[in-house]
Structure formats: structure tokens, C-alpha cells
């Protein structure tokens, strides 16, 4: 874990004893209770997504027309929808799609963007200028609008939603990582490995990339919540996954409002699921950034 942010930290905390992973975690929980709360939400969500088959009480696709619009009860905690499907089961399976799209899109967008940022910073000159202009142009498009346009061309499917959400993330990650890579590049050790005759890819991958991991992780966690939100918005607008896929945004579109009087729970629970998930990622991301970025520590 040799990262720029952490090297500053190490330098100032050189006298403190080295902490084990467990001790580091405990320290994080004590110092950042909100972040720890976020982490718990994320872990719970992951558990639900991973073990949906075991945890969910019903089949998410099984329609039962005798049970349409059942009120929340002991059998159906969150009630049932217009096809008599158990809403809680569908929300639990929905965690899978939300997490998959969230992680896949942020990971793809941040990795591509991060690599572009490193290359841009290391190469400098015309290539840097060109890539910077390109990123500026991409940034001129509001995230949701760009995702909407790409999703509309690619058509509704989960992998297309991932691509549509990942592309607007690229310039945001590139910008952050490039800024750090620029300062890393100026370090004496980079000059030293250059002088020793290391090849360009070697310098980039062995010496620059490991040192921009901290901003990469920060931007990755910061984008996760936004990506989940974007997935929900796209499926709400009818551009994400299609029925009968249990996607949170899709559950809120159309049917939820047309049955507002008869079954208000249909409009309430999926929204809570989205908000809670994004809230968890944002809390965790915020605290992680505070912990990794020495400038934001309370002095």
C-alpha cells in the first residue's frame, strides 16, 4: 500500500507502531463512525445480493393472481405487486442488479479513466493536451443525459446499462488520477528509474500506477453511489433492464404510481432500498476520502 496520500501519513506517523489490518479497521470504526455505518449497510446489501436464493422467502418471478396487491403482512412483509409477486423478494433480488451495475460501471469507468489519466500525465505534450481536451468535451455533457443517449442507442440490456453509466465516469476519474500522477512523475525515484534505463511501460506500471491507487480508490467509491442511482434512474425511465427483471428503478416506474391509492407500498419500499444503498456507499466513500486524504484531516 505505497500510495502518495499514505506516504505523507507514514512520514508523519513514522514513530507510531505499525497496525495490523484488524487494528486499522477498529481505528477506522472509532474515528469514522458514519463511515463504519456505511460499510455495514454495504456489507448487508452484499450479503442479501449473494444469498438472495436462501434469504428471500419467495420466487421473484412467480405471479399469483389470487394475491394481487396484498397489504404488508406477516407473510408478505412489504406486500405484493400487481402480479401478486412478493415485493420483499423482488427487492432482495434487485440488490444484485444494483450492485452489479454499480460495481461494474464504476470499476470500468474509473479504470479506463485512471489509465488515461496516468498515460496523459506521463506522456505529457501533445497527447496530454489532446486527452485533456477530449475529457473536457465529455465533461460538458451532464452525466445522466450522456448515459441516456448511449443507453438509447445500445438498447435496453444490463450490459448496455453498464457501458452507458461507465462512459460518463471516465473523464471524472481521468482528471483526478492525472492530477496525482503529474505530481508523482516529478518525484526523484521516478527520475532514478528513468535514469536506470527502465522501459516506459515499466515506469508507468511499476512506479507510477501504485502511487495513484489512493485517488483511484477514492474516486471509485465516490462513483459507486452515483452509478447505482444512475441505474435506478435509467430503468425508471425505461432504458435499463426490462420487465420482469427485479430492478429497483423499474419497480418504481409506471405501475407504482398508477396504483398509488390502492397499493402505496409499491412506491415506497423500492425507493427506500435505492436510497439506503446509495446512502451507505456515500457515507463510506466520504469517510474513506477523509481517511486517505491528509489535507482533509482535522489538524
Amino acid at each position: 500500500m505505497a500510495t502518495t496520500a499514505l506516504t505523507h501519513v507514514r512520514a508523519s506517523a513514522a514513530l507510531a507502531p505499525r497496525l495490523t489490518l484488524g487494528e486499522e479497521t477498529l481505528k477506522f470504526i472509532r474515528r469514522k463512525p458514519l463511515g463504519a455505518a456505511g460499510a455495514i449497510i454495504i456489507l448487508a446489501l452484499m450479503a442479501v445480493a449473494a444469498f438472495a436464493e436462501v434469504l428471500a422467502p419467495y420466487d421473484p418471478y412467480h405471479a399469483d393472481y389470487g394475491l394481487q396487491f396484498a397489504r404488508p403482512s406477516a407473510e408478505h412483509w412489504f406486500g405484493t405487486d400487481e402480479f401478486g409477486r412478493d415485493l420483499m423478494t423482488r427487492i432482495m433480488y434487485g440488490a444484485r442488479i444494483a450492485l452489479f451495475v454499480g460495481f461494474a460501471a464504476s470499476f470500468a469507468g474509473c479504470t479506463i479513466g485512471g489509465l488515461l489519466g496516468v498515460v496523459s500525465a506521463y506522456a505529457g505534450g501533445k497527447l496530454d493536451l489532446l486527452l485533456e481536451r477530449l475529457m473536457d468535451i465529455l465533461l460538458a455533457f451532464p452525466q445522466l443525459i450522456l448515459a441516456l443517449a448511449i443507453a438509447s442507442i445500445l438498447g435496453p440490456a444490463v450490459q448496455n446499462v453498464v457501458i452507458a453509466i461507465a462512459i460518463p465516469i471516465i473523464p471524472r476519474a481521468a482528471r483526478v488520477v492525472r492530477a496525482t500522477a503529474l505530481s508523482v512523475k516529478e518525484n526523484v525515484y521516478v527520475e532514478a528509474v528513468n535514469a536506470l534505463g527502465a522501459s516506459r511501460p515499466r515506469v508507468v506500471f511499476q512506479h507510477i500506477v501504485p502511487n495513484v491507487v489512493a485517488p483511484y480508490i477514492i474516486i471509485l467509491t465516490a462513483q459507486l453511489g452515483g452509478a447505482i442511482l444512475a441505474e435506478a434512474a435509467l430503468s425508471y425511465l425505461g432504458l435499463g433492464s426490462a420487465e420482469p427483471t427485479p430492478s429497483w428503478g423499474l419497480m418504481l416506474s409506471g405501475s407504482a404510481l398508477s396504483y398509488a391509492e390502492k397499493a402505496p407500498w409499491l412506491a415506497v419500499f423500492p425507493g427506500i432500498a435505492i436510497s439506503l444503498g446509495v446512502f451507505g456507499f456515500n457515507l463510506f466513500g466520504d469517510s474513506l476520502r477523509d481517511a486517505l486524504d491528509p489535507k482533509l484531516r482535522k489538524g
Binding site: L34, I137, A140, P142, L148, G225, Y236, V268, V278, F279
Partner: protein, 317 residues
């Protein structure tokens, strides 16, 4: 100042050109035949003759370079062709919907500024107390709760308690202020909350930074009251980044308009985008996406100019 304005104006030309190119690339080069999509070709069999006619209508039968030239020339003259759905010129359709979206955007910005600056200030001054925690949780919540869900909850509440129905036609405030207010208040709350969340966080963090400056310590040291230190010395100096943010968050605003207008079935530009996508009305989609980028660039230009006007150091750099 005049040279600065001129320089900034010249700088937006390549950005806009790039944006126009990017829109073209997204709409034409990404695999998938637009003409086929419009005719519903992904769902079943399509008549070959219709396909050829559609390609001709869209100019897709011409070489890519010619298509690109036509698109750019249209952009320069602000002529984006006709909607495939209504047959009306895109710009005309746009102008009909503009007042509603503009009003929604301005009111939401106003509401969010009125909420967020006092809240952010309170949180910064009382850092790490319960006040700060409450403000932070509410503002992180504003970022986590999807805008469309806030809208759905508003409607749910209105339907259950007041038997609300969606408004049919936009009534401008100068025609009937009360009808207009009834129509706009909930959408404004929906868009404004999210916007306020972002601005509150920014106000808090920049004010925190400013409060640690030397001149603030001086202000305290000479015995000024808290009110004078915070408002006259700190807040004034932390407003510049917040003004910039109001510009950059314009993107959030547009996204907010898209979902909010859809939830409340308001006939604005945001819903126009969604409808155009649903109807596969590609000339409209293409024009609207370019125009959002265009307005984003213009808003940020205005923000930068305000910024330079406030802070002379910037324009001499």
C-alpha cells in the same frame, strides 16, 4: 476585462465543436442502425422499402463525411431538422417547452441557495456538534435519495390526501400565478432538495477552510463578535467557490429536470428528451443532447465571467 471575455469566448468554440462531433459519433458510429431502430427492427421483420426510405429521410444513405458536414452546418445555423414524431422543426418544439423548464430550473436554484447557504454556514460554524451531524446526514441523504422517488412520494401524498391529478397544460406565472404555483411547487421542491444537498456540502467545506485562515484569526483576536467574523469576513470570502459550484451543478439540474418532469408529467425539455428517446426520434435526441452541452458550456462561461468580475486576480492571470 474585455480581453478576458474575448479570450474565454474564443475558448468555447473548440469545446462546442468537439461536443457536436462527439454527439455525431455517439449517434452514428456506435453499432446499431438508427433507421432500423426507428422502424422497430429489433422487434421483428421490417419492410426493405421502408428501411431505404427512412435511411433516405435521415440522410443515412450519404457518406459519413457528408452526414457530418450536414450536421455541423445545421448546428452552426441552429437548425436541427424536423422531429420524426411530430414533423415540426426541432427548434420550434423546443421553444414551446422552454419556459416551463426555465422556470423550474430558476426556482429550484433559488430555493436551494436560500436553504443551503444558511445550513452550510451553520454546520461549518458548529463543526462536529449534533447540528453539524444533522446537516451532514440530511445533505448526504439528499444525494442518496433519487429525485424521481422524492417526486413519487410527493405525488403519493397528494393523491392520497388531496385527490391530485397531473396538470394538463403549462400556465405561465404572468397568466395565472396561483395555478402556476400549484403546478410548480412540488417539482421545485423535488429538484431543489437534491441541488441544495450539493451546495450545502460545498458551503460547509469551503467555509471550514476559510475559517482557518489567518485573517479570521485576526478578526477573532481584535474582539469582533461571532456574527461579524462569520458573515462579514468568512462567508463573503467563501462564496466564490459556491458560485462556481452553482454553475458546475447545472448538470445535476438538467438530470433533475429529466426525471422530475417525467414524474410530474410536465411538458418541459427534460421530458422532451425522454419522450424523444422513447419514440426513437433521433433528430430530436441528437439536438437536445448537443443543446444541453451547449447550455452547460454557456452557463459555465457566465459563471467564470462573474467570478473574474468578483476576483480581479483571475482575469490578469
Amino acid at each position: 476585462m474585455r480581453t478576458y471575455i474575448l479570450k474565454r469566448l474564443l475558448l468555447i468554440v473548440p469545446t462546442l465543436l468537439g461536443a457536436a462531433t462527439l454527439v455525431f459519433v455517439i449517434m452514428r458510429v456506435i453499432p446499431g442502425d438508427v433507421a432500423l431502430l426507428i422502424l422497430g427492427g429489433d422487434q421483428g421483420h421490417v419492410d426493405e422499402k421502408q428501411l431505404v426510405a427512412m435511411r433516405q429521410q435521415l440522410g443515412l444513405d450519404q457518406p459519413l463525411v457528408v452526414q457530418f458536414g450536414t450536421w455541423l452546418w445545421g448546428v452552426v445555423r441552429f437548425d436541427f431538422g424536423k422531429s420524426l414524431w411530430t414533423g415540426q422543426p426541432v427548434v420550434e418544439e423546443l421553444l414551446i417547452r422552454l419556459p416551463l423548464s426555465l422556470e423550474l430550473a430558476l426556482l429550484a436554484t433559488l430555493v436551494s441557495v436560500l436553504i443551503s447557504i444558511p445550513l452550510g454556514m451553520l454546520a461549518a460554524v458548529r463543526q462536529d456538534t449534533w447540528v453539524d451531524y444533522v446537516v451532514r446526514v440530511v445533505s448526504i441523504g439528499g444525494l442518496a435519495i433519487p429525485g424521481f422517488w422524492v417526486g413519487i412520494l410527493c405525488i403519493l401524498f397528494l393523491v392520497i390526501f388531496f385527490g391530485w391529478g397531473p396538470p394538463l397544460e403549462f400556465t405561465p406565472p404572468w397568466v395565472d400565478p396561483w395555478t402556476n404555483f400549484q403546478m410548480m411547487v412540488w417539482p421545485v421542491v423535488t429538484v431543489g432538495y437534491r441541488y441544495a444537498a450539493v451546495t450545502t456540502r460545498m458551503t460547509r467545506s469551503t467555509l471550514l477552510e476559510v475559517l482557518r485562515e489567518d485573517y479570521i484569526r485576526t478578526a477573532w483576536a481584535k474582539g469582533l463578535r461571532e456574527q461579524a467574523v462569520v458573515i462579514r469576513h468568512a462567508l463573503k470570502n467563501s462564496m466564490l467557490p459556491v458560485i462556481t459550484l452553482i454553475g458546475t451543478e447545472f448538470a445535476f439540474l438538467i438530470g433533475g429536470l429529466v426525471v422530475t418532469e417525467t414524474v410530474f408529467t410536465l411538458n418541459g425539455i427534460g421530458r422532451f428528451v425522454v419522450d424523444a428517446v422513447a419514440h426513437r426520434d433521433y433528430p430530436v435526441v441528437q439536438a437536445l443532447i448537443f443543446l444541453t452541452a451547449f447550455s452547460f458550456v454557456i452557463v459555465n462561461l457566465l459563471v467564470d465571467l462573474t467570478y473574474a468580475w468578483f476576483d480581479p486576480r483571475i482575469r490578469y492571470r
